[in-house]
Structure formats: C-alpha cells, structure tokens
Amino acid sequence: MFKKILIANRGEIAVRVITAAKEMGIKTVAVYSDFDKFSMFARIADEAYHLGPSPAAQSYLLGEKIIEIAKRTGCEAIHPGYGFLSERPIFAKLCEDNKIKFIGPSSSAIEFLGSKTNAKDIAVKANVPTVPGMHGALKDLNHAIEVSSQIGFPILLKASAGGGGKGMRVVRELSELESSYRQAKSESLASFGDDSVFIEKYLEEPRHIEFQILADEHGNVVHLGERECSMQRRHQKIIEESPSVILDEKLRKEMGECAKRIALEANYSNAGTVEFILDKNKNFYFLEVNTRLQVEHPVTEVRTGLDLVKEQFKIAFGEKLSVTQEDIIPKGHSIECRICAEDSDNNFMPSTGKIGYIQKILGNGIREDSGVEAGDEISVYYDPMISKLICFAETREAAIEKMSRVLNEYSITGIKTNSGFLLELLNCKEFKSGNYNTQFIEKEFLNRKSESLDQESELAIALSSVLFKNNNVGQSSGKPIIQTKNTEWQKKKFNSYR
C-alpha cells in the first residue's frame, strides 16, 4: 500500500480522506490556505504545508504548487477529494507526468467524460438510453431554433463543459429561445471558460438517481446500488437517500448494468458515479458521469459496509477489486443531510462567523462527517457545507425518525445553519410519501406557511427573552440596558400575589 499520500482538498472531505489513510497506516500530507492554517484537517494530518492566500484560486487550485509539495515530501499519490481540482484533466495529467498516482480515473477518462457530448456518445455506444437531444454543440441561434423545433418544447439548454446547474436554461416556447440561448452561453463561459452549449429534451418532474461504481485497473467493475438525489435547490443536492422509493429490483438491476457498461466503455477506473434522470413514467436516461468521489458517498457506505475511500486507495495502488457484484448486498435505509452555513429564512444567504457552541447527539446508527468544531471560523472563501449527517436504519420510516431526532437536538451558535429547514423538509408529507422531484423545493416547499407555535413553546421563548435580557447578554452593541434592581419593596409587593 502507499506509504505517503497528499490530500489536495480541505474541510470535511480532507478529514475523511486523512482519517481513512491513517487507518491504513498511510502517512498523510495536507496543504492549506492562510485561512485553514490550523483548521481541523490541517491539524490531524501527519504533515501540513502552506499553499497560499485564502481564495481557492490562489491556494487549492494551484496544481503545480501541490505537485511540487507532493514531490518535496515524498508522496506517492494525491487524493483530490471533490470540487477544486478533482475533475480537471490537466491536474490529473500533471500527476501522471510527475509519476505521482492521481487517486481517481485517468486524465483521458476525466477529459473525455467531462464533455457532455462525448459522454453521451459513450452512453449510446453502451446502448444506454439518453435524453432525446442533439449531437455535438450548437453552431448558432438558427441551429438552436432548428433543433428545438425538431425535439419539441420544452427543451433544456446545457453547457457542454460542466454541470451543477451552471449555464443551464429551460425554454418552454420559441419566443424565449433567443434570450435563454445568450444567457446560457455567457454563464457557461464565465463558469467553465467554454461557451459551447447543446439542447436536450426537458423532462417534467424529473427525478435524479445516480449509481455508485467502483472499477479497478484490471477491467473489473461493480455497482454499489443507487442514491436518490432529487431533493435539490438551485441544482445543489440537500438530502440524498438510498434506496430510492421508486426503483423496483428489476429497474435497479437494469440501471446498475447500464452504469457498469458505461464505465467499461469509457475505460473508467476508481470510484465514479453515473447519473440518470427519470421522467414521470419511470423511463430513465443517462445524464453524466461524475469522475470523482462524491459528497454523498457515505449514503452508500453505511448500506454496504464498504469504505469507498479505502477502496480508492487499493484500486489506485493497482490492486484488484476485493468484492464481486454478488458480495454487494446493500441493507436497510440511509439518509444524508448536508448541514450548510446559510440562513434559510433569508434566501439561503451564506452565513459567516465564529462557531460558539455545537450540540449534537449522534449515537446508534448516526454518522457525522465534519470538518469543523466549536471555535472555528466559517468564511465566504469556500463552500458553505460544514458537515454531513448520515443515518442508517432498517426501514425508511425509522431512518426519517432517527434523522429528525438528531436535527431536533442539533444546535449551533455563532453562525446560522439550515438544520431547521432540513427538519421541516424531512417531515413534509411529500418527502414522507417519497413522491418528490428535483423541482419540489423551489416549486412548492419554499412557499409553505410555517406552523404556528403551541402555547407552551411560546411561553418558553418569551421567558427565554426575559432571561437573556436579564443576563445582559446583548451588551455587545451600544446603549446600556436599564436594569431594575429588586428592591425590598418590590419583593414584598410580589409576594402579596402568592
């Protein structure tokens, strides 16, 4: 096994990879920005070295500098985590050129699957259904008009060079096509440096279901079951769960085989995720391949008992897959909630500040992957997700009850989080019944009216405000609060009430 690896990431995924490596006796080297000098991940790695100022572009995205540190410290491999450099072919290529193993697929596989159009070709070759659409990129507006009338509205304008909702526009009628075409191209240029866009059929009430795959470098590939990721806001996943309520055994097997065929066709190795989209009638279509370990990988780990990060190390080290498809029998039900530093009452505005106190009671069947602890600062430099709560239970109902109990007791001061929003989402009837799709939050959930408080809770809040007022806690800003002293007279007066 590798003796020493470098972790080119920060926050919870860096802690995840560092702890997994240490558990296999692998020495760990972290790299940090000014802001992360003594963040949790930078402290628990065996060694840690400075990259640059806090902004990602001057630190976590400096591929050359990371390679240089890896060579200087004798690292045999680099784990890119997710985001940052994890899906940049140039960085994977840089590793290959410098004889440092990139823990992930080959740079060519990343590059190839990174382009939506190429990925689509692979799917067609692997005879996996794809969303009705066009081939290659749009040449100009007329081309767009021609294709969209051919496929029929509503259509979806998508950036070839990237996902996550950037450079994407739904067009319901011809009249909207021109403005959406322009916006999609400019946003795609801004986000990925490549303005090529293409057109696909837009599916109503779509569900987003992805399959985790593991492929070694000897041609073996397995799938580890699906993750239901339809609970999204602005294309960002908020809650993921497995199994999906709408897949039956037959559909699961079929989609799993499709995922494996795509991996083989693309000569893919290491961990990856094949994303599908399902329409109302459970027709599934290939969407894209995420050529990295994903945020929601724990959902699959707790059901299969496999440690995907450790499997990644073994595969990158050249070992054969230690499991066959038959060995993989996912059990029970798991749900993951992403805890984000944002104000769900104020349009999900990112929340920054110093974490004062965190109360979280985990216990049986609850796992937390976190990168922060009380006392840490949360900044605007990086992604607002601070930790993930993953629960496992025998049934979906039990998993929902378990996660609700944890979120109910979860309390954090110093920053705002979406834990209350998650609690409401988990317990709304659409989630409980399982019939929700990727548009549910924005179309329905956001304009729900908040439940009214029962009288006892109202009294508790009122009395708390009295206690805080008396504790002069709010002294921090300006004018002194007028504090009435309990004169003997006053005490006598109230005793008369008894």
Binding site: D343, D345, N346, N347, M349, P350, S351, T352, G353, G356, Y357, Q359, V380, Y381, Y382, P384, L407, N408, Y410, S411, T413, G414, K416, T417, G420, F421, L423, S450, E456, S457, E458, L459, A460, I461, A462, L463, S464, S465, V466, L467, F468, K469, N470, V473, G474, Q475, S476, S477, G478, K479, I481, I482, Q483, T484, N486, Q490, K491, F494, Y497, R498
Partner: protein, 173 residues
Amino acid sequence: MIGLGKYIASINGKEIELLVISEDTILFNGKEIKFEYSFLKKDVISLRIEGKNYQVSLSDEDSQPEENSYSLDFYSKKYETICRNETDLLIDKFSSGKKDNLQKNNIKSPMPGIILKLNVKVNDAVKKGDILLVLEAMKMENELKSPRDGIIKKISISEKTSVEKNQLLIELE
C-alpha cells in the same frame, strides 16, 4: 438574578405578558408556574418549565439589546422577539411616540462581498420585499430585500464597491 415584575415579550409580533414573582416562579394567565434554567453558554439557555425541557439560543449578531430586540433560535427556527420590562414600558409611554413595532432602519451587509447592482436612489419609496441591491459573494448573487415599506434616507455604497460583514449599506427613514 432576574428583575422581578411585569414583562411583555412579543414573538414575531404576538404579545405575551408574564410576571416574574421570584427566582423560580412566574405568573402567566393567572397561573403560578415554576421554572429552572441554566446558561450552558452565555448565548444558550437550557430551560425547564413545570418539568418540560426547552433549549433556546440567542443570535448575538441579529440582536439589538439596546432596542430590547432579541433574535432567538428555538429548535433551529428563528423568532424575532422584543422584551420590555416595566421601565421600558414607562420610557415608551413618554418617549416621542416611537412606533411600537420593531424599527428596522439599517440594512447592513450580511457578509463580505461586492455590490453588483444598486436598484435605488435616496428618497425612493420602497415596499417590503423590494430588491434594494444585489451582493455578489462566493460566485453567488444574493438579493438584499427591504425589511419594510419606507423611504431611502441614506446610501453609503455604490456599485462595484466591496463591503465587509455588517457594514452599513442603506438607511431607511
């Protein structure tokens, strides 16, 4: 030590009156109610009312104690409260008839970022929820909406200026 006497606490506008008659007893709706509490942290209270457990935390950032306003977090949901004791009530009676509801005049930047678009000028009339400006932070566009109807009194930023967290941006009459 808690100041004995009458308190009026309004939660999201709904008024509740209670009378603190001793260190561990209040009078509410004519009933004597026992309570115990402990400050787990200066901004986190564990409260027990007649055996029932509650946990409430204070968001320092959004609270303005000098205006008796406390922003409380109750099981991950936010409640704007105003808590006035007898002295505050007296002051309110004789002061310049300051309107009762919470006066949100200052719009401060919730975090560091850059002003992308400014939609208003001084003396513009705005409605609650109007988008006053768009703040860009972390590759995301965040719209700052007006907390209430009012007139723009003062604007201390312009497009393209970068701002710090809590920096004052716009003042309403």
